[in-house]
């Protein structure tokens, strides 16, 4: 029993690392603009499909993944620039609803161009490692390492670089940022591009595990979203830790509860966080949480 438990904790951590990447994107977009991006899940799907398309153009898998991340990042920045920016002045409901519209557009564009059927995607990692009687899929280790590296890299970028500092100021107060001469109009698309890139990477990593389908974004988006809320909406390291927690909780819950309730873990965590500790693990009570 312990063996199964350890195995499911490891595969849960791999899934959780991906939720963490999605949640990190949510947090970044939310902190800088206060917009809850409902299209985040579909950007994940888009990342998977772009990789498949680039692989079909005879690019090596690693290069295809990188190209896909860049494309999705560009599309996300374009989304912010063209659709969301005119809506910030109105009530907050407008940009959020616009992301819902964008999510529908992306999902159906994929359906039109790639067809509704699920597609198989090649993975980076194969094989199984056995240690002390515990069997671990190499893909799980790979996912964990890659997404942790990229996630923590992004956190460091926000923490250390001038662009990151600028984003943090914009997140804290738009007016102060303007007074300091920080170009918010250029940093907001940059923040969205980073969030799109993280989503695309999540798509690249999770596609081989799930097979790719146009409507897979929603449940991934909700898990990522819950990860972000659990970590304290707006805190990037919080999102990564929140993702890990949810991934492990989901996979362990399956051992003890009917499999249909796996998706319920995210909802249960979400409502518990809202009831008990709204600021999440790392957010601040007033909601003016730190970006890092």
């Amino acid at each position: 029993m312990t063996r199964i438990l350890v195995e499911s904790i490891i595969s849960g951590a791999a899934a959780g690392a991906i939720y963490g990447l999605i949640g990190l994107g949510f947090s970044l977009a939310y902190r800088t603009t206060r917009v809850i991006n409902f299209a985040q899940g579909d950007l994940v799907t888009l990342g998977g499909y772009f990789t498949l398309w680039f692989v079909g153009r005879h690019l090596p898998l690693a290069l295809a993944a990188a190209a896909s991340m860049v494309s999705v990042a560009f599309i996300t920045a374009l989304m912010e620039r063209s659709v969301l920016r005119p809506l910030y002045r109105a009530s907050l409901a407008y940009p959020i609803l616009a992301t819902v519209g964008l999510s529908i557009i992306i999902e159906n564009l994929i359906r039109v161009f790639a067809g509704p059927l699920p597609l198989y995607v090649p993975g980076f990692f194969s094989g199984v490692t056995e240690a002390g009687g515990i069997r671990i899929f190499n893909s799980n280790i790979g996912i964990l390492v890659v997404s942790m590296a990229v996630g923590l890299g992004m956190v460091a970028f926000i923490e250390r670089t001038n662009i990151g500092r600028g984003m943090r100021v914009v997140a804290h107060d738009h007016e102060v940022a303007a007074l300091l001469g920080i170009p918010a109009n250029r940093l907001l698309p940059a923040a969205f591009a980073m969030s799109g890139g993280a989503a695309a990477l999540a798509g690249v990593l999770i596609a081989p595990q799930l097979t790719l389908s146009p409507s897979m974004g929603l449940s991934l988006g909700i898990n990522g979203f819950t990860a972000a809320v659990l970590g304290g909406l707006g805190s990037m390291p919080g999102a990564i830790l929140g993702g890990l927690f949810i991934g492990v909780a989901e996979n362990v819950a399956v051992l003890y509860a009917p499999p249909g309730l796996k998706d319920g873990v995210a909802y249960a965590v979400l409502i518990l966080v809202l009831l008990i500790r709204v600021q999440g693990l790392f957010g601040e009570a007033a909601g003016r949480g730190r970006l890092v």
Binding site: R34, I36, V83, P86, L87, A90, S91, L92, A93, Y94, I96, L97, A98, V100, G101, L102, S103, I104, I105, E107, N108, L109, R111, V112, L218, I222, F225, V229, P258, G260, L261, D263, G264, A266, Y267, A268, L270, I271, L274, L275, V278, G287
Partner: protein, 340 residues
């Protein structure tokens, strides 16, 4: 003259309200007669009747969402799930326990109101833009229960609900009769929504949505108003669920998914956020478009998504705003033409 009456006459807003109240019931009766005649004459095929009833269901649910989203500015994506609570409560009571239909309907509406009040209670403790998170998790939990609670809800296959109702010896379950019943329910709903909108509570809700600090300084507790809005909105969704059960007579989880909740949000935006009349008109237009010709081709949903984005950017005040603009233009033109 008493103080309250004085107020009504002297304040501009109060005067407006008094005038509204006098003609609204008459308007309602006229609309019912005209609507019934139009339905009888023009809506004859089964498909058209079904479309009309779908419009009525969406209009009722959207009128409730209008209080939550249009007035209190809380984004709710649980309205469809709250409808499901009412529909399933009623369906289970009728199908499994053979409860008399009106009683089951009341129980359904009560259950929906309680669930929506729960969302309001959670939201009362936190900031308003977390409402979307609260409703997301409630909707998700309800959807999961509908699918996994096999023994109670019939799971993904859904459940059949035998409907029997007669009034004065007239069978009310035929399509012809249900259309008229639906019309009456929508008009009563519209009357209630419009009355709530112009009542003291309605104004307080709108104020709480528009500016939390201003509301506090006026002695209105915004959090209390979020709760009140959730309760009122939930009751409307409950009534919509009851009509849904009576019309469709079959309940499945797929009818109450996120798509339906988003459709309702869209109706409120198109209707102009806070205008009951606009919402009813928008319900007709949006339901017809999304269920009618957009379903015909594969690019339909694409047009739908693009439509949402374009609508928000180009016409943020919705149909009501457009109508108001046209009205203002025509009255100014008219006053220019009139000899002074």
């Amino acid at each position: 003259m008493s103080a309250s009456k004085m107020e009504r006459v002297t304040s501009a807003i109060g005067h407006y309200r008094a005038r509204r109240l006098t003609y609204r019931p008459i308007l309602c009766v006229i609309e019912f007669i005209v609507g019934a005649v139009v339905l009888r004459v023009f809506v004859s095929s089964a498909a058209a009747e079904f479309m009309a009833m779908l419009i009525f269901i969406n209009a009722l649910a959207a009128l409730g969402l209008n209080v939550i989203f249009g007035m209190a500015q809380l984004i709710s994506i649980a309205q469809a799930a709250v409808m499901a609570v009412s529909a399933y409560t009623m369906g289970i009571l009728i199908a499994d326990h053979h409860v008399y239909l009106p009683l089951a309907a009341v129980a359904g509406v009560a259950a929906a109101t309680i669930v929506s009040a729960f969302a309001g209670l959670v939201a009362e403790r936190i900031r308003s833009h977390y409402y979307i998170l609260v409703t997301l998790s409630i909707a998700g939990a309800i959807q999961l229960f509908l699918i996994n609670g096999q023994e109670i809800t019939g799971g993904a296959n859904g459940m059949q609900v035998p409907i029997q109702l007669a009034l004065f010896g007239q069978d009310l379950t035929t399509n012809d009769a249900l259309v008229i019943v639906g019309l009456a329910m929508v008009l009563v709903g519209w009357y209630c929504a419009a009355s709530i909108g112009s009542s003291r509570t309605g104004r307080a809700i709108t104020l709480a949505g528009a500016n939390e600090h201003l509301a506090l300084s006026c002695g209105v507790s915004p959090r209390r108003m979020w709760l009140v809005a959730s309760i009122i909105g939930g009751a409307f969704a409950g009534v919509a669920g009851v009509l849904f059960t009576m019309v469709v007579q079959y309940l499945g989880p797929s009818d109450f998914e996120l798509d339906q909740a988003l459709l309702l949000l869209l109706i409120v935006v198109v209707g102009g956020m806070g205008s009951p009349t606009g919402v009813v008109v928008a319900a007709a237009v949006v339901t017809y478009l999304s269920n009618g010709f957009l379903q015909l081709t594969s690019v339909g949903p694409l047009v739908y998504g693009a439509g949402i984005v374009l609508l928000l950017i180009v016409m943020p005040t919705g149909l009501a705003g457009l109508l108001r603009l046209i009205a203002r233009r025509t009255t100014t033109t008219w006053s220019r033409l009139r000899p002074t």
